[in-house]
Symmetry: D2
Subunit: 285 residues, 4 copies
């Protein structure tokens, strides 16, 4: 059986990029299964994702060596991932656990190709008694104004110890410090319970109720130091009416949040998301 790899890269656009890279891959017998390109004509940047199989015996090192020269000449940012290596994911949650429960469910049935290496919460484990956490390390890090720097240091230690590739804030209700946000840049996804840029900050469903909008939504984005301003990965909405109280918006919102977060996580795990300044390129699955 052949192995599959994914190469993603971004560089300044010029003629011949695709030819150069695919010729290198063809030379070692790679067969492209899925190719996605995006030529940003407003910025002149070129984005590409190639998923391909290789013949038996071709290793990840061989693949890297094969494309490295060409991509270096293009001054590209690039990465190669093999489908046998799964990202190591740390999930952070607070009291509301619908996103946590949903991610764990999708992981257990094999929908999300990741290893869940831990769950962090500012609430104790008993809060999640109906969720099966038996085989997942659980870290209780209660946060107060005083101990926040200390707890964030512990969090970073966990990230290091477990070699975490991705931190998912699954309705984690504490705001990360600028320093922590910076050190997790590009590898930390948050779900915000509004259709950004509307209703940033606290209690977005109450804000939506006050304004009388006819749709509510959720937004998954990379975390940056700028609250609720990070590059957006996925968004979705559902219709609401005048009959919906803030409590009903919260209920309807749960369904939107969990599916938007799961979509963003899957796209990240499958190397489908590339940063483009303040925005993202998301190659569809």
């Amino acid at each position: 059986m052949s192995t599959a790899f994914t190469l993603k890269f971004a560089c300044d656009d010029r003629p011949g990029i695709v030819s150069r890279v695919t010729t290198g891959l063809a030379a070692i017998g790679c067969n492209i299964q899925e190719a996605s390109h995006f030529n940003d004509q407003l910025t002149g940047r070129f984005f590409c994702r190639l998923a391909f199989t290789v013949p038996a015996g071709v290793t990840e090192t061989t693949v890297r060596e094969n494309v490295s020269d060409g991509l270096t000449q293009l001054a590209a940012t690039w990465s190669v991932t093999g489908d046998r290596s799964r990202m190591r994911v740390l999930i952070m949650a607070s009291k509301l656990d619908h996103c946590l429960a949903d991610l764990l469910y999708r992981w257990r049935i094999g929908e999300l190709p990741m290893d869940v290496v831990g769950v962090v919460s500012n609430h104790p484990r008993e809060v999640y008694q109906h969720i099966d956490l038996s085989d997942v390390p659980f870290h209780h890090l209660p946060v107060t104004k005083e101990n926040k720097p200390e707890q964030e240091a512990k969090l970073l230690a966990i990230v290091d110890e477990y070699e975490v590739d991705l931190v998912v804030l699954a309705r984690y209700m504490q705001i990360l410090s600028d320093e922590l946000s910076a050190s997790l840049a590009g590898r930390c996804i948050n779900i915000h319970h509004s259709f950004l840029p509307g209703f940033k900050g606290a209690k977005p469903y109450h804000q939506a109720y006050e304004r009388g909008v006819k749709l509510i939504g959720a937004t998954a984005h990379y975390v940056t130091g700028d609250l609720d301003e990070g590059p957006i990965i996925a968004q979705d909405v559902e219709p609401v009416t005048h009959r919906d109280t803030p409590e009903q918006l919260v209920r309807k919102g749960r369904d939107i949040e969990r599916r938007v977060l799961a979509r963003a996580v899957r796209h990240h795990l499958e190397s489908r998301v590339l940063l483009n300044g303040r925005t993202t390129v998301v190659f569809p699955d």
Copy 2:
């Protein structure tokens, strides 16, 4: 054949409202075809819309007299409309005419139960040469910083002369003065080309592009002096991707704008919209 009427009212909630009003209607043989209620438990206000047929010979006056006492005792705000009287509508447009063309089309095929009594534009009639305006009075009111008060006075004169019930800003790109907004309160609908409260003001599709949102939308709302802050009547969105340039967002947006505006206008024409503070109650069709 029986005649149909629509009664809508709002009052403070208390036991017995529906009983009182429907008993009055039953007494003169009215048969309720469609009833919608909304009890706003957060404000204590009660909203109701009743569509009903009456036996031959029962006039609008009789209907009014029959419900008047009860509604007065409830200190209700109320109105009765007969299905034989159609609202008189003035449409205002600028260069982009997709909403204008769409409203006129829906009117001509009988989808929107209104009389279009005029079209106002800050551009000359020639701009709309492919739209059939033959039987609709056209008013060219070019607006400059200097003549704005004067042109708004002319507009109000048109509203008076033609006994206009509803002014529709169909991508009319001039901002109404606070005075004009106030004098048209509750009878002027605007379409804003974003999913409010995101991207207020100018060039919302360019703002959406800059922010990298994954859905774009449109919002129909009553005009108030507070720009893009009026009570929302209808909203809708469509997915977009990183491939969409601002120009493509504009193209996709046209489809959203015209259907959202048409929906809001239809709901207003059918007396389905009631104001509830800064928001609306919209009884579905």
Copy 3:
């Protein structure tokens, strides 16, 4: 604190129905919180749902007595439920447990106002090891061609013993016999993994793939003897593309199925669904 009740009824349309019923309710101090009416002009049937609070001391018996005469004269089909009595629900599942896990989650967080009195599966309990079933009686009823009548008899015994109000087929992959379907009429909801009437029967996602549709869906309906033909309660869809293999349709479908089934169950639990021949009236929440 006042108690809340829900009255739903259906009868032939005639003038004065609402007046008669609401006057009866007003007489004992009921305050209507939510009223939904539907006058089916094509069949002449009238459908109504009233949710109301009553003063302290007014019992369910008093409410029933108060509306009984009027509704009997109208030859109405009717029922009254108090918000303190919750429906007793039996969930049936097979190997795929996403709908089961989702219903149990919504129940545990209080989103679905029901008592789960049991889970029935044709697979053993070990299959669901990651789902917390600790406090829910589990019944393993493996079905073969030979033992089907016998197992269905056991199922009916469980329904009787636990006084089950609603049976939910949460991707239960056995077809119920006509007799069982008949005896559960109006109190058994199934989720079919296609947008009916397209792709009835087995392997609907593979059928959808073969046909090349651009949207896939799911349908929740009451079970009747006529397979996949029962009255539809809820449906939803999601876009798919040529890239989606049958396996990916299955994955995308899981999300649609669980939210459509949960919506149908909630609407049933809240007495929002009334049968209208082969179709349903669903009063929105």
Copy 4:
């Protein structure tokens, strides 16, 4: 200013296809603006669309010669189109003209890159008095059981005379004969007013009403001899409720039909649609 071309092709999959074709294009200085690939792993077919600019002086002939050898060796089906050549489109309509009016509007504002070379109807021109047809040849071809072969011959003569690239059945209510369908294979798009495969044939909105579905839809597909069975290009749906009479479904359906048809036509005009057996590959815009 550079010229833009689009190359689309399909062939059996093997390693090196993209490399071979893009190397050929790079050799003459082409710069890929948009590339879409699809590797159908279930059938082993590879589908590709490349949009690219060429340096001044490079002609369509040069482009063709440059890729021809490689594509011939791949036994590919392929075509090249330049953005300066627009498809010549014939629109066919019956009494309901919402799709006709919509396509003409989109054409006039430059949204659809086509030349409308004629309108054919089985109704006389007066039916469309509010649509501006002044500069579009109009052909009245009334169809009866007796004259159908004769009128279809006239239609084919019009297709030949005007060198029609695409025939759009914009709610044209006559069924084309098998012979005509065959001779227009791959260049005739129909809009069917249901979410196929549900509700084929006549009066789909009435069928939808009878069945009590909770969403209605529309389907744009290539015409084949097998009625309503041709490869699907685009579909969409909207929610409906028990309140919607067949007439209201027709009204809501108009909005769906016109946007689905316009989307399919645009995708065809931009060479985004490739046939894949009974289904289509549609590369997104």
